[in-house]
Each structure stands twice: as C-alpha cells, then as structure tokens.
Symmetry: C2
Subunit: 193 residues, 2 copies
C-alpha cells in the first residue's frame, strides 16, 4: 500500500529514507477509499487533508454563480489531490474535489505534514512538487491566454495523453476553459487535419 508513495518520494528527492523515517511516514498517513462520485472535499468546508492518489482519479472544480461547474484540476495515480489554499490557511474552500473513479488515497493532515517535514527527503520532495506544480500552472496559464481552442487541446493531448482515456470529454473541455460542443468540433478538426 505504501510502495507507490515511497517510490514517489525516492524519485522526487536526493536524500534517502531511514527505517525510522519510513516508520514515521507510515504513522502519519491515513488510508482513505472513495467510491466514484464521492466527495473528497466539499465547497464551504476546510480541506483537512492533502491526498496522494494510489489508485483512481479525482477532479477539482468550482461552481460559478450560474451553477456551472469549472474544472480546475484533474489528478490520477501518483498525483496529489488537495486545495492548497484551504488546506494551508484552514479556510473554507471554494472548490469541490470528487472521485471520478473508485479511488484509494493516502492522506496527510497539516499537523502530520509538519511532523514529517523534519525528514529531509520529504522536505525535498515537497519542494520539488511545489516547483513543478507552479511551473505547470504557469504553462497552463500561458496556453490559456495565448492559444485558441484547438491548440490548447493539442497541448493537453501532448502533456497528458492518459487523461483523455480517463475523463469524459465535457470534463476535459471544462478543464480547457471551452464548451463541450466546441471541444467536440475541435476534435473533429484535429482528426481530419
């Protein structure tokens, strides 16, 4: 159950893990299982955990004034799922996080995060994760202000080909900030070009 997480930590840090480190890590995470459509985080509540996905997939979305859902983030195995703002500030979240498949997570409270932060490999891992999250987010932003729908979709395909298999098209459309009809038409253009 912890193998995925430990492998992830090793791949994202320079320092190695002692046996005590591993013990501490195992004590600090909780196992959580969600059925499809179950909520990991509900709008208005504080995000209590940051979750490492062992199996399954989640989507994070906001609901605007007209009741329309906007997908902010998609995550699958080996990704973290959390609303960082709510989690770190202990503030009510404006987002929902929903399991899109039956999903298994290892979750970590803020207190336990601070506890295992004493482990160098953990610190490095989170540091690296922060950096790459920020870089990815800046890239997505760049695309969203500078590319038309078709090219945004092509970039998405290039970066996250697995996601196309795992999430329905209207979810991906929302992630890209376009309507599902536009994505459908754009895919047609893409196939025939």
């Amino acid at each position: 159950m912890f193998e995925t997480l430990l492998t992830y930590i090793k791949r994202h840090s320079e320092s190695s893990l002692s046996d005590e480190d591993i013990m501490l890590i195992k004590k600090s995470f909780l196992f959580k299982s969600l059925k499809k459509k179950e909520l990991f985080l509900e709008q208005g509540k504080v995000c209590q955990y940051t979750g490492f996905i062992i199996k399954g997939a989640t989507r994070q979305f906001s609901i605007d004034a007209s009741g329309i859902e906007h997908v902010i983030q998609l995550s699958i195995e080996n990704w973290w799922s959390v609303d960082r703002e709510s989690f770190l500030m202990k503030a009510p979240s404006v987002y929902n996080i929903e399991a899109w498949e039956d999903t298994d997570l290892l979750v970590l409270s803020l207190e336990n995060l601070e506890r295992i932060h004493s482990i160098p490999a953990i610190k490095e891992m989170f540091w690296q994760m922060n950096q790459s999250n920020f870089i990815a987010s800046q890239k997505r932003l760049n695309y969203s202000i500078s590319l038309p729908a078709l090219e945004r979709y092509e970039e998405f395909l290039k970066h996250y080909p697995e996601f196309v298999q795992r999430f329905p098209q209207h979810t991906i459309a929302s992630y890209l900030g376009i309507s599902k009809e536009t994505l459908s038409r754009v895919r047609n253009k893409y196939v025939h070009k």
Copy 2:
C-alpha cells in the same frame, strides 16, 4: 539597500535572522540596476538569477508564432521576478523579462540560493512564497477559464489596484488574455455601470 529585502524575509518567516545570517545574505545577493525597456531575461537564454525588486516594475512575456507578445507576469517592489522553470532547470527560457520602469533588483544565483537555504528563515520564506505563488496562479487560472472579460478585469482591479497605475492598458489586457480594444470597451462598461 537591503532593508526592503530583510523586512520582506521577516514578514514571510517565523524564524529570526542572526547577524551571521544577515552577513551571509548580504554576500549572496548582487545589486542590479535596469533602465526602462532593458531586459532582465531574454528568450532563449538561461535565467541566471531570481530577482527581488527593490524599486521599479517588470513584465514577463512570451512571443507567439505570429510575433504577438503575451504577458505572463507583472511584478513591482517587494515581488520576485524570475522564470522559475529556466532558473531551476538551467534551461533556455521561452520568456522575456523586461524592466517597465527604471528598476533596482537584488539578484540571487541558483548556487547562492542553495547556500542561503541553510538559513531557516530563508527556507520558510521561499516555502511561503511558493505556496502563495501557486495559490495565486491557480486563482488566476480559475478566473481565466470561468469569467468573461469584464469580470476578469474587475477581479484584477480588486487584487492589484496599484498595477493599473503602473502599467499601460494594453499590457494589462494581454495579462488578462484579451485584446486591448476589448479591455478599452470593457472599462467603459465598468465606469458606466
């Protein structure tokens, strides 16, 4: 010259700075002065420094296939200016960073960053900066996929009122991902509503 930076560090960390810490910090930064329109980073080159702005303003932008500039980031005093991807990966940047006013910076190389990273307050400061950068970037993304032009502008005004005084409208339009003409019209609507 270092007061601004030291104040910033204190405000963004819990640990305090010893005199030796301050010495090390002062040794690790270089002073850099840019005239208006001068480049801090040029597309295709590696971003050698992360810069803390003491005075002035910068804009980070990409240039697309049609030669059109897209503003990714605007920064003023007390902000950091850097292309993090290029800086951390030592990879050629796809962005330019230009001084929009005469600008004074304290800049830090990656090697020196690693050196002062031994100081707890510095580590905490960068950690917090990373978190809030990511949160801000996620928020901007949320707005860019879920709000129409007028509301995007209103959010911008609410979050960054100073920026409206410091940057020309067409720069802000580009930052928001809309054309300068649309922003001009949208502002008219905003004033008269």
